[in-house]
Structures are given as C-alpha cells and as structure tokens.
Symmetry: C2
C-alpha cells in the first residue's frame, strides 16, 4: 500500500464533502488502487463547526506554510475559492514541486498560464477537473481520451443555479424574482447571487474550456457575458411558442477568423440534447472532427459530486507517484 500525504486548503462545504467521500470510500479506493490517501493537514480557521465528521484537531493549522513548506506533503488540494490567496498558494506549492488539485475556476481561469507553466517547469502535476462541470469528467476526457480530435464547437450548461431558476420559471410559470428568492431560501442560490445569475461563474468555466478545447486563451473578462436576471415570464412564453426553451449557454466555436465565445441566455429547440437538462444538472456538448457529437451530463455542483472530481484527480496523481517510486 502506497501512502500519500495530502494537505487540504479550506474545509468549507466542498472540503468537508471531500473529506467525507474519502472516508466513505476509503476501503474501495485502497482495494482498487493500492493507495492509502491521508489528509494530514488542513488550513482552516473555523475548527469548531460541527461538520458531521470526526477530525483530529491536531490536523488543523492557520498557517499555510505548515502545508506549503512541509516536504512530507505530496499533494495540495486547494478548496478556498476566489482568485487570491488561492492562486498564490497553488503557485508556491507547484514551485516546491508539490502536485496541486483544485476546484477553483476563478483562480484557474485568471492564472491559467502561470499555473500550468509553473507545474510543467517544476515537474509537478496540476489538475482541476472539479473547476468545470462539478463531478462530470469533462476535462479529463478532453485532455486524454479525446486528444486525437480537433474540435469545432462546444455548447455547455455550466451553472446549476441558473439552470434551476430557468427550469422552475419554465415548468411553473413563475417570475425570475420569485424563483430566485425560493432558490436562496433552499440554499441553491447564494445570498449574493451575482456571480451565478450574471453569468460570471460560467465565463470562468468557459475560459478554461476554451484553453483546453481550442488551445486559445480568452480571459473571463473578455468573454461577452449576459446572465439570466433580465429574463421575464414573457421571454419564457415566447420561447415556448417557438418550440424552444431558454438555457444559459456557454458557447464557443472556431471558424476561419478564429475562436469565438460568449455566455448568454439562448433559445434552444426542444429537440436539442441540451434542452432537456433539468434543474441543477450541467451538461457539455462537443463536436470533434473524429468523434463527432458528444454529450456529457451530470451534477455540476454540490459537495459530493465535486468531491468525486477532486478525488479522481488526487487518485490520478497518486497513481503516478506510485509508479514513479517503483
């Protein structure tokens, strides 16, 4: 059994989900991979909150150097969210040759070159499957199994909050304000929903996908972005009459002039595979010149689906560490 020591930055909802899934499936992971994955240190101020799991209090630290400078830590999982200090912490870890796994779309979208180049230079691995599409294994597929394709088009539903709002508005004939309020009460939307409803969250994710699918860097701020806050009941009804539904789509395509991308509410014909993607689900539609049309569908957010992606990345890196140590 190969032991892998992990430092965890942030024990919020996603961090707690990751800790829980690792414990829940520990026996399965050990049996199928021969890996003993141990979260040995956790950067987190709130050590008192009841998270429904037993964590040795000695694992907590308030000093990032206890993780970033510890030569015994093989992999750093970054789940702080936000561009800083997350990006700086990842940069420091990669410079020290530590492997990094993150779910942080804002940090990866803002600092894609810096982080990927630092990883490359220092022989470290950087993985960020959870940053786009939650548990759906999109990034892994694009960068490995689909690597023989040139892609011409991508279309995605990449934000669960707005897809939930649009689904409810459509199915229950209710206004944006009413559904948003309910979503906030149920915890599906944040108290300040701006990042979701104005499409900025999707623009971050699209920026990452465009880098991988088309090999072009477009910063999130340079992606024309319209959210769903202006969508009215009348818009939904007009779409309905045209045999369509309105979805907040991330779109990118390549033509002779280059790569074009944008985030906007779009009328989708009900026959389109993305038209049926309900509630908090995410989906990505891709067109490659060998594989043709491809669609992935699954839970785009939430502690457990996100943990699935984070731990998939951790296991992938841990397998490489194990193989190299042979």
């Amino acid at each position: 059994m190969k032991r892998i020591n992990i430092g965890l930055l942030g024990l919020g909802n996603i961090g707690t989900g990751t800790y829980k899934v690792l414990e829940m499936n520990r026996a399965h992971i050990e049996k199928t991979t021969g890996l003993n994955l141990e979260i040995t240190k956790i950067l987190e101020i709130d050590t008192e909150r009841d998270r429904g799991i037993a964590i040795d209090p000695g694992k907590f630290t308030q000093d990032p150097r206890d993780i970033l400078d510890d030569p015994g830590i093989d992999i750093v999982i970054e789940l702080l969210g936000g561009i800083e200090p997350a990006s700086s912490f990842m940069h420091t870890a990669l410079k020290a040759g530590k492997h990094v796994v993150t779910a942080n779309k804002a940090a990866v979208a803002a600092n894609f070159e810096l982080l990927t180049e630092t990883a490359e230079k220092n022989g470290a691995l950087l993985r960020y499957e959870a940053s786009v599409g939650g548990g759906i294994p999109l990034i892994n597929a694009i960068t490995t199994a689909l690597a023989a394709n040139e892609f011409s088009e991508l279309l995605g539903i990449l934000n669960g909050t707005t897809n939930y709002i649009l689904t409810k508005m459509t199915e229950e004939d209710r206004s944006y304000e009413e559904v948003l309020k309910e979503a906030q009460e149920k915890g599906f939307a944040e108290a300040d929903p701006t990042g979701d409803v104005e499409g900025y969250d999707v623009a971050n994710k699209l920026s990452i996908l465009v880098s991988l699918v088309f090999g072009e860097r477009v910063l999130p701020d340079d992606i024309p972005t319209t959210g769903v806050s202006g969508i009215t009941k009348a818009d939904i009804e007009n779409a309905e009459e045209a045999g369509c539904v309105i979805k907040l789509l991330a779109s990118a395509f390549r033509d002779d002039e280059g790569v074009h991308c944008f985030v906007q509410p779009t009328m989708l014909n009900k026959q389109h595979p993305l038209a049926d993607v309900p509630g908090e689900f995410n989906a990505l539609f891709l067109k490659g010149n060998a594989v043709d049309d491809l669609m992935f569908y699954g839970k785009g957010a939430g502690p457990f689906p996100t943990a699935s992606a984070v731990l998939g990345d951790v296991i992938g890196i841990a397998k490489e560490i194990k193989r190299e140590s042979k």
Copy 2:
C-alpha cells in the same frame, strides 16, 4: 518530438478510419502532444483495395511476427475483430512488453483476466476504450476520473444497429423485418445481423463494463441476453400508450446479494435521459455514490468515432512512453 512506432493488425473499416484520422489530425496531435505517431507496419491480406488513402506498399505484411517480434514497434493496435487470432496476437505482444490498444470487445470480454494480468506482469499497457461505446470516453472516465466512486447501477444503450432499428420502428410505425432490411441495404446492419440483433454484441460490452464498474467478472455467455428480433409493432404501440419507448438496454446493479446484469429490450419512460437517444447513438447512464447520476452520449460505432477512441488510447500510452524516456 518523440517518435512512436505503431504496428497495426487489420486494415478494414476501423483500421482505415484510424489511419485516416491520424493523417488528418497529424499536425494537431504533434503540436498539442509533441508526439510523432507513425504506423510503420500493417498486417493485412487485402493490399489492393482502394481505401482512399495513400499507403506505402512496403508497410504491408502477411506475417504477424513482423509486428509482434519487431523490437522497434512500441504499440500494437489490434483491429482484426473476433476472439481469435486477435487474443493470441495481443497476448504475444503484451508478453514481449509491447503496449496494446484494441477495439475488440469480443476478445477483451472473453480474455479479460489473461490480457490485463499479462499486461501488468510485463509492464505493458493495455487499453480498450473503443471496445465499448465507440468514441464515447467511458472506460477512461470509469477507470480514472471516477475512481473515487462506488457504483450502484449502470444502464446503457450500447449497440447502434439495434437502437437504429428500434428508433425507426417507433418513429415510422414499421415492422422489425422491414427496418432491418433497410438497415442492411444502407450498411447500418450486417448481412448476418445475429450478433447485433440478438444482443450478443451488447453482452460483450456489458461484460467489460461490469469488470470495470463493479470489479466482478461475468462472462458474456453468463449474461441473460434477449435481443430485439422478437419486438413487434404491437410492442412498440403498447409502450407508446404507456408513455414509454422500447430500448435494448444493458443493465447492471449491485444489491446485498451481489451484482446482477442482463441485456433485454426494456420499456423506458419517455422522461428518462436514455429515452431520447436516437438512431445510431450510444449512451451510458451511471450512478456513483459520490458523483450521483451521470450520462455520456455519443457515436457508438463508425470508423471515425472508433478511431477517436483508438488514437486517444495510443496518445495516452505514447505520453507515458515519452515521460518515462526522459
């Protein structure tokens, strides 16, 4: 640029598609991966057929040893189909430490332990993404990005011919015999369609998936299998009246008694994500205890989609060769 020499067993439709996609996307693959992939030898009797590609006649051989015994060949792509001699050729290649990529579900399903264990023992890699779901990156996702999950259920539409037949019967209110005949004329069904329409092709694919998803070996012959040849117009109408469609499903689930699996025509509620999968598409629905519901959808057959999977496997192995040679 790292040069990788490939021996190709079989230049039928899939082999020709693989050769074409590699040439079509050569510049893209070289730029994104730094790999120079060269098919240097081809085992094929029919050297005269016009395949629409220029191939140096010196690459052809009729002796498998020219590939299996050549120390200069890094990767063997097996696209002969059928259990033998394909399995023996792959076994020989793996024993010699050569990496193997195959699209051959019958051979992998029949000889899963032998081939995977021989690969493991000899430090060789065996990849078979194209054997299930054509171009859809299922196997890669299950074995890598989803490795932190325990799965409880899988449901798949894994045969394009039967899905095409059932879709046409449903949409055009036509009989099985009529649609099959048309599918044969159009080349969507083989002259002897038994393997497809009786579900044996799906049983091979399900056997492979059950090994990977549940870690249990069930031989194709031990999977209760019913095909679509007995489906009548009345069956389709009855399903329609119940708000359902009939799909040929590969199903597997785990309960307290173990893993259960079967292949059979199934009435699916029209709301189910698999109900809309049309024509020659394939799809797989999975439920994991972290990721929850997940669906993949794409072209399950055809030279180019299958080539996408074959070359994705080749690139994955070639990247490992490149990294290890550093």
